[in-house]
């Protein structure tokens, strides 16, 4: 399992949505399955919605994404699930069944609403954020923290690994990405 690593420059960091989007394209992501999250809404979801390189599927509830991504994977189509951590928590049974037990490549990008980006998720002021990494570790799900631009380099290798190994992945977005 990939350990979450906080970058040294988190405190002074910035995160640009355009860099994340470039990494998703380089990773072969064709489908984005999303329910709006205020952390990623303007910096990621809005530009993705305008980008003709992606097919955006808007869902009503986050666990739908787990089934859709699984179905797509049978045709070797890559999908990114873009949700808030509350939706991740709400989808745990689907992630357990499809991602962990059936070993499907479920790639999630999870916005950490209410998190202080100057802290690690385990030290977050928000209880719901503090429990995310321990849950992922208990479930054996690889995860990485993306809080500053330097962290964007983690995205493509993590997605490639998830599809190569047919395993779930959680990329935790620790601060609101800038839209530019």
């Amino acid at each position: 399992m990939e350990a979450s690593v906080a970058s040294a420059d988190v405190a002074a960091g910035e995160l640009h949505g355009s860099r994340i989007i470039a990494a998703l394209k380089a990773s072969g992501i064709e489908y984005v399955l999303a329910l709006p999250d205020i952390v990623t809404s303007s910096g990621l979801l809005s530009p993705i919605a305008r980008d003709e390189d992606f097919r955006l599927i808007r869902v009503c509830k986050e666990d739908e994404c787990i089934g859709i991504a699984s179905g797509l994977s049978y045709a070797d189509k890559r999908a990114l699930i873009l949700i808030q951590y509350t939706g991740f928590l709400d989808s745990l049974n689907a992630i357990r069944g499809v991602g962990v037990e059936y070993k499907q490549p479920i790639c999630m990008m999870v916005g950490l609403l209410g998190h202080d980006p100057d802290k690690t998720p385990r030290a977050s002021p928000r209880y719901g954020v503090r429990i995310i990494e321990p849950i992922l570790d208990d479930m054996g799900i690889a995860h990485a923290l993306v809080s500053v631009d330097a962290d964007v380099a983690k995205i493509q290798p993590a997605i490639e690994r998830a599809y190569r190994d047919s395993a779930p992945l959680a990329l935790l977005i620790g601060r609101r990405p800038r839209a530019s």
Partner: protein
């Protein structure tokens, strides 16, 4: 009300090389009638049948996908009606076997057996929506239901005809997922 096995036998005669997504009682009855590599049974969490079906349909728009979902399952994922209608896959047929119970969990009743799933699908924006309770009418129309541009929805009002044996390890065996994928990608 149709006998479920008789209804599924008619469906099996028309399924062709479509993927068939099913779980729980519908899956057990279906697999008994139509064992085939293109049965997709590993849903992972109750209610996700329709979402898996949407993913399959989007991934292979050149092939047909039939979801055979239980009423209890769809109740857990009613939002998928809206998501599917918005994504509008022409190759997706969404059937719901409505027996008004959680049959696999002790045949307890669903919260409201009067629910009209076909009306919900229609208002969600499906291209077409049907409601079948008569086996003869279903047999007359099933080919059209399966072949027209989707997303198409149909409620099948069914009653179980025999006690089912739920062999989940067999239904969800990894080799069946591998066989499905090979078959799903193996044809143009």
């Amino acid at each position: 009300m149709m006998k479920r096995d008789e209804c599924f036998k008619i469906l099996a005669r028309h399924i062709g090389d479509a993927a068939l997504v099913a779980t729980y009682s519908s899956a057990v009855d279906w697999v008994d009638i139509a064992p085939r590599p293109l049965n997709y049974l590993s849903i992972g969490a109750m209610g996700l049948d329709s979402s898996h079906g949407l993913g399959l349909a989007l991934g292979r728009p050149d092939r047909r996908v039939v979801v055979l979902q239980g009423d209890g399952s769809l109740l857990m994922n009613l939002g998928s009606l809206v998501t599917i209608a918005a994504a509008a896959p022409k190759n997706l047929v969404h059937l719901v076997a409505q027996n008004d119970t959680y049959e696999a969990n002790g045949s307890q009743p669903i919260p409201n057996p009067k629910i009209d799933f076909a009306a919900m699908a229609k208002s969600a924006g499906y291209a077409a929506s049907y409601d079948f309770a008569d086996l003869r009418i279903f047999e007359q129309q099933v080919a059209h239901v399966l072949e027209q541009d989707g997303p198409v929805f149909a409620t099948l009002h069914v009653a179980p005809t025999k006690p089912l044996k739920y062999d989940y390890p067999s239904l969800y065996a990894p080799e069946k997922r591998a066989a499905f994928k090979a078959e799903w990608n193996g044809r143009d």
